[in-house]
Symmetry: C2
Subunit: 194 residues, 2 copies
């Protein structure tokens, strides 16, 4: 639908990847048919499998493309920037793909985790982030909460009156507030579990 992420036009192979990236993000891997991808890219279904071996192969290519984006960005930018930059264009894709398990997606999650861990360590060291007993767990929590809105994109869109981006941006403020100041008041430290 309309403009696709990455590459402006390019070869048929490039168009297929772009179409897959968009359709996977919109509807998930399983729900997206090879024929739909082919149609979106303006090619035949046979060509898709010719280039990528199988639908799963195409998924691997897409995953690697997103992974490379994160890794390369991680070599130059600050971890927090990387996470924000990955969530921005690839948020829906990441949510869909991390949900529907697939071997190639594991690397994606690990990359996000590593980046988040860097961000947490840097944040603690520089004093902008609260110190934690379990840095790994904190990083995992960060990733989990970070992609959460994209999981519920459909429901949030309905809640916000049909606008997909509107729902996510509307809950962004209270979420940011929770990050900044917490949600619960009172001195009780225990009992908040579960």
């Amino acid at each position: 639908m309309s403009s696709m992420i990455y590459e402006s036009d390019l070869s048929a192979r490039g168009r297929i990847v772009a179409a897959a990236l968009g359709l996977f993000a919109a509807g998930g891997f399983r729900a997206t048919t090879v024929r739909a991808i082919a149609a979106e890219a303006g090619v035949s279904a046979g060509l898709v499998v010719h280039h990528f071996g199988s639908k799963e192969g195409l998924r691997r290519e897409c995953d690697e493309r997103v992974l490379r984006f994160i890794v390369e960005k991680g070599e130059s930018d600050a971890p927090a920037e990387v996470l924000a930059g990955a969530a921005n264009p690839f948020g829906p894709y990441l949510a869909r793909m991390l949900y529907e398990t697939g071997s190639s997606t594991d690397a994606l999650f690990d990359a996000l985790l590593a980046t988040a861990r860097d961000a947490v360590e840097l944040g603690i060291k520089s004093g902008t982030m609260r110190k934690s007993d379990d840095v790994d767990a904190q990083a995992a929590a960060l990733v989990t909460l970070g992609v959460a809105p994209f999981f519920l994109a459909h429901q949030l869109a309905r809640w916000a009156g049909g606008d997909a981006l509107g729902g996510i941006s509307r809950i962004a403020e209270p979420i940011a507030d929770i990050y900044a100041r917490g949600l619960l008041l009172g001195q009780s430290r225990g009992g908040a579990g579960q």
Copy 2:
């Protein structure tokens, strides 16, 4: 797989619902086949459609069952208890079903939202929760963050060394900490967006 949620044994109809509840929670709606449900319940595939009309009908039944659980519990217990009680046995199911859009699932999300809103209002009134400009958005954020760990159950399980519950419980602590005290330090109020 072993003991199922709700109803101990019961009729074939009850076993089908129990099996569906479990398999939908484990693998999602689309990925779960009618034959798998039938096998789990020890009946034929034909019986499933005989009782529920279609796979979609069975889903509706499951959704309504979970919805009823939440609503009924909401009439007696405190909202916060309801949310915790719903997340406990039905967390994986809710995550899967809210993700894969279906008309009957909309009611589920709305019920969660309403309950969360009650919880927020009560929390603010009783002084245990920070006041918010947009109570609805805060409720939506609460639901979103609440089910988030279940979306990533698979990845978190891998991260925690294969144990599904282990992963979720391990990030529960940093998440609870974020709720209690926030994550970010410093006086800057802006710039945390995105």
